[in-house]
Amino acid sequence: MQAIRRTIRLEDVRQGSDEVLRQVYEENRDKFLNFARRYDLPEEENVDVYQDAFIIFHDNVMSGKLETLTSSISTYLFSIGKYLIFDRMRKNKKTVGSQFNMDIVKDEDHLIENLDIEEGSLTSEQQLLRKHFDSLGKKCQELLTLFYYRGYTIQEIMEAEHYNSENVVKSAKSRCLKSLKERIAANSM
């Protein structure tokens, strides 16, 4: 029963309905906040960390990096959250005191080994890229998002977006990239 429930859930998340997102968010929120309180961060930051962990989890589901769950969603959130908390502590130049239980999710660390966790802010060039990406037509934005964010293959894009052939997708993608580069070049001149 558990397995069925998990599979359904991950697929549901991938479908991207707000209702499912809200449910997963609320279902794991208290558990996560209780867990996060073990570490030495101000309480108000814990919600922030929860959201960041949630976003990373969501990203990895959407990008296909996380295809099947080998543990509960909350365990993934805890593992990512622990990583983020320690990262914040390092940045705040705080040492992790011995009273904090570092082992609590140690065993699950392998869970997040293959996930994309690094966030990092955008460089000024990337900010420019972002600005011009936003100015692209909707069709281009969708196509590039499917390819770069969702990790779709050309064939999958063809099927999802009802293109006539893979070649049409390929040339559409090249045009979108070209247009993006041109806009950036025009801006920097």
């Binding site: 029963m1 429930r5 707000d18 997102l21 809200r22 449910q23 968010y25 609320e26 279902e27 929120r29 208290d30 209780n34 309180r37 073990r38 030495d40 961060l41 101000p42 309480e43 919600v47 959201q51 949630f54 976003i55 969501h58 990203d59 959407m62 990008s63 296909g64 990096k65 239980n101 609590i104 994309d116 966030e119 990092g120 955008l122 460089t123 060039e125 990337q126 890229l129 972002r130 990406f133 936003d134 590039l144 998002t145 390819f147 770069y148 964010y149 990790g151 779709y152 293959t153 050309i154 990239l177 993006l180 580069k181």
Partner: protein, 244 residues
């Protein structure tokens, strides 16, 4: 593999070890290729960033809704906070209704479905807290799921002061450990005292009976709960229908 295919496979998560080596080699030796690759990688990051921002806005709107349901965000809200947790649990529970009708339900499954450890609404564990009290130790243990230690500390605490919540959280800890009989005895005390957590004790007594496979007693306490209290009324009514 040509350059085009290399880049394509990289972004489609289809690059094998061998391809990865070729890719890295090209990145070192071919500036033009490197530039192109970095551009597309940046694009990926930018889209991810954008998606992250969209989602963050959505999550913040969820937070606003959560805060609306909870006018007081202090953990000492006791009943009120629990009622929020209960309504969230209800939402989740409702999602399960279809699933369970489909599968049929044993009382143990009903218990698993409805049981949620009661949150710590008594003691706020905060940062830089130097308080070394038994109370703190008890709730740190409780929150970390170390119910054995929680019981020990609560037992000790009971010797010092007799607050209504002590018996309740001891009962909770026992229930979490699967000691339904010990939990039932403590819940009975709480119901007899007619003080704080009386309604909650009815709910958890019903659940504990369910865990024991005793549908008759579970029904009895759920009926008492719906007749006498507002706490978890909707969930109790829904559960009563399922037990039938």
């Amino acid at each position: 593999m040509d350059k085009e295919t290399l880049i394509y496979r990289y972004f489609a998560n289809e690059l094998d070890k061998e391809g990865e080596a070729v890719l890295n080699q090209l990145l070192d030796s071919d500036t033009e290729f490197r530039k192109r690759f970095e551009f597309e990688k940046s694009l990926k990051k930018v889209i991810r960033h954008k998606k992250g921002e969209d989602l963050k806005a959505k999550l913040n709107s969820f937070e606003v809704d959560i805060a609306k349901k909870s006018p007081s965000s202090k953990p000492k809200g006791g009943f009120r906070n629990w009622s929020i947790a209960a309504s969230i649990a209800l939402l989740i529970g409702l999602g399960w209704v279809g699933f369970n009708t489909f599968l049929g339900t044993s009382s143990d499954a009903l218990y698993e479905e409805h049981f949620r450890a009661y949150p710590n609404t008594v003691y706020t564990i905060t940062r830089g807290d130097t308080d070394d009290s038994l109370e703190r130790k008890a709730f740190v243990a409780y929150e970390s799921g170390d119910y054995e230690s929680a019981i020990d500390y609560l037992e000790e605490l009971k010797g010092e002061e007799n607050k209504a919540y002590i018996a309740f959280y001891m009962a909770q800890s026992h229930l979490n450990l699967g000691n339904t009989e010990a939990a039932l005895a403590l819940f009975q005390q709480i119901m007899d005292s007619e003080k704080e957590f009386e309604a909650e004790a009815h709910w958890y007594t019903a659940l504990a009976h369910l865990k024991n496979g005793d549908k008759e007693n579970a029904t009895r306490y759920l009926q008492k709960l719906t007749a006498g209290f507002d706490y978890n009324r909707e969930r109790a009514e829904a559960l009563l229908q399922k037990i039938d």
